[in-house]
């Protein structure tokens, strides 16, 4: 299949691109390299260096005539979205619309796979583990922009029968993650531990998240290419892990014994987050293969082997 993938030089989508490439698909990667790296793009894929909001990105996608559009390019920093909600909306909503419209004009589009955000769209009042039926109740501009694009995809399906799979990620971590995104804590701790620098936990460390390994996320993206299911689906483990536990596991893998330093918590930070993976299992046949213990150890190992190069 011809697949256009936005943000394909970044953490998650470059891992997805590797898998698509290995399956023999023809790939167009659209990335402005503002946080992605050219070296992440698989050999054989065409890279167009363009901002997803730009006419250049739209033209490249339209000319490529993708059968599938995979949307990963995004402004992913929650704090930045609070500081500049306009920018966040432009990149995440307008940018996405620009690409979908271009792909539709190409004439071959039958499906959109979208990196949605299960971690930020349900807010902090939904029951845990949160399932997909909970109404969107985001608490940050980032959470709104990610949910907004999924709303639009629902319209495209209703109007044009355009199939979409919105993969609502929990906190994704693993190889190639940069420290600035949603689940940046794993990347930050890993970098610092391997550089023998002190790690700081904000709050008491008891706040929990649902950490899902990027290789499992890749598997969901592969299944999303062919599943008859259309709609939003959580990509999560259903397991809560505290930040203290994450530190403990990473430190163990990095063979560090110093504890993290505790600093005052950040106001408004969500205390608990965990998503139900039941629908992903039922609809996509997807189950995570990495528990946090194995996944975090693998992440440290990967970082070590890439640091020493």
């Amino acid at each position: 299949m011809r697949i256009a993938i936005t943000g394909g030089a970044g953490f998650i989508a470059s891992n997805v691109a590797d898998a698509y490439q290995a399956l023999g698909h023809e790939l167009l990667v659209v990335d402005d390299l503002s946080s992605g790296r050219e070296s992440n793009v698989p050999r054989g894929a065409t890279l167009v260096r363009a901002d997803v909001r730009s006419p250049a990105a739209a033209e490249a996608i339209e000319r490529f005539r993708p059968e599938v559009l995979n949307v990963h390019a995004a402004q992913i920093d929650v704090r930045r979205s609070v500081a500049d909600p306009r920018l966040d909306a432009e990149v995440n909503v307008l940018g996405g619309l620009n690409c979908v419209e271009a792909a539709r004009r190409g004439g071959a589009l039958s499906r959109v796979v979208y990196a949605a955000s299960g971690g930020s769209m349900y807010g902090d009042v939904a029951p845990l583990p949160t399932s997909e039926g909970a109404p969107p109740a985001p608490v940050s501009p980032y959470g709104v922009s990610k949910a907004a694009f999924e709303l639009y995809l629902g319209c495209w399906r209703a109007l044009y029968g355009l199939h979409f799979v919105a993969l609502r990620y929990a906190n994704v971590y693993g190889p190639r993650q940069n420290p600035h995104g949603e689940a940046g804590v794993v990347a930050i701790f890993t970098d610092r531990l391997l550089a023998s620098k002190e790690c700081v936990i904000y709050g008491d460390g008891g706040q929990t998240r649902d950490f899902v390994h990027v290789y499992d996320v890749v598997d969901a993206n592969v299944r999303a290419l062919t599943t008859p299911f259309s709609g939003g689906v959580n990509v999560a483990t259903g397991v809560e892990t505290s930040i203290s536990r994450v530190y403990e596991l990473l430190a163990k893998a990095a063979k560090v014994v110093t504890p993290a330093r505790l600093a005052p918590g950040k106001p408004g930070e969500q205390r608990q987050s965990v998503l139900s993976p039941a629908k992903a299992k039922a609809e996509l046949g997807w189950t995570p293969k990495y528990d946090v213990e194995r996944g975090l150890a693998q992440t440290v190992e990967w970082a070590q082997s890439h640091q020493s190069r």
């Binding site: 609070v82 909600p85 306009r86 909306a89 432009e90 909503v93 307008l94 619309l97 620009n98 419209e101 109404p135 969107p136 109740a137 985001p138 608490v139 940050s140 501009p141 959470g143 709104v144 949910a147 907004a148 709303l151 639009y152 629902g154 319209c155 209703a158 109007l159 408004g268």
Partner: protein
Amino acid sequence: MPWDLDARLEAEAKTWLVTGAAGFIGSHLVERLLSAGQRVVGLDNFVTGFRANLEDAVARAGKGAGERFRFLERDVTRLDDCRAGCEGADYVLHQAALGSVPRSIADPLASHRANVDGFMNMLVAARDAKVKRFVYASSSSVYGDDPRLPKREDETGRVLSPYAATKAINELYAKVFQRTYGLETVGLRYFNVFGPRQDPNGAYAAVIPRWMAALAKGEPCELNGDGSTSRDFCFVANVAQANLRAALTTESGATDQVYNVAVGDKTSLLELYRLIRDRIARAVPKVSTLEPTFRPFRAGDIKDSQADVSRACALLGYAPTHTVPQGLDLAVGYYLERHGKAP
């Protein structure tokens, strides 16, 4: 007993920014506020609004109204224009938007820019100007495919058009702005508003003005669907009341909230057609037996819509003053005057 809106307005003159002021609903807000002695700043880019609406509104607001009104020909898709509008404003009534479901299907990016980017600009400008409250126009279209009737605010389905999506997104952003930055917001979900000054022309005109203008000229009307499609049509004076109450209510828990704004009744398109035809027929007798031409259902349209307005009644003290027939009585003259043949 709902609080007295006129007494509250009379007690103190405030400065209100009305965006989309030259549009149908915006111009009624301008008129209502000026009539109540308030200072009003109107903002519009004249993409879908008309200068004549503003002139009509100011003229009808009575003597001295023009001195309390200032107009800015500006565009909400530019942040600086929004800042200029919010300067010195106590309250914002944000109406500017590209309306119409079919328009949004034809050009979703244009609707997105006006309705989402423009909304975001207004939120940012209102936040930075420290306005007291931001009241904005949402839409019954956010109920999407949820079939439950009457519509209650917390029961929404999947949106069916880009226009509906823009309004649903507005509501999400408004909540985040109240919770993150402390800007008080109130969203009003309008249900098929009608009244004088609503534009009858163009591909995206609403049904009531289109039919009124056609019948006033003695021409036949097109009806999409089989006539059983129903709506909770709401006269514009009810909408103006809801806006002012939303801005001024001191009820706790009234902000960070959305409200249905309608009458709470439903009228089928066929019933509506007859109500309009009978009124126009008094001046244009030849339409008295004219039947509509039936056309296919339109993509993205919902079948039935009826509001539960109890939340607005409880928290805003809203009490609709005009039923559909009463509203049509008042609207019909406007269209006969402008589109009817001289007797």
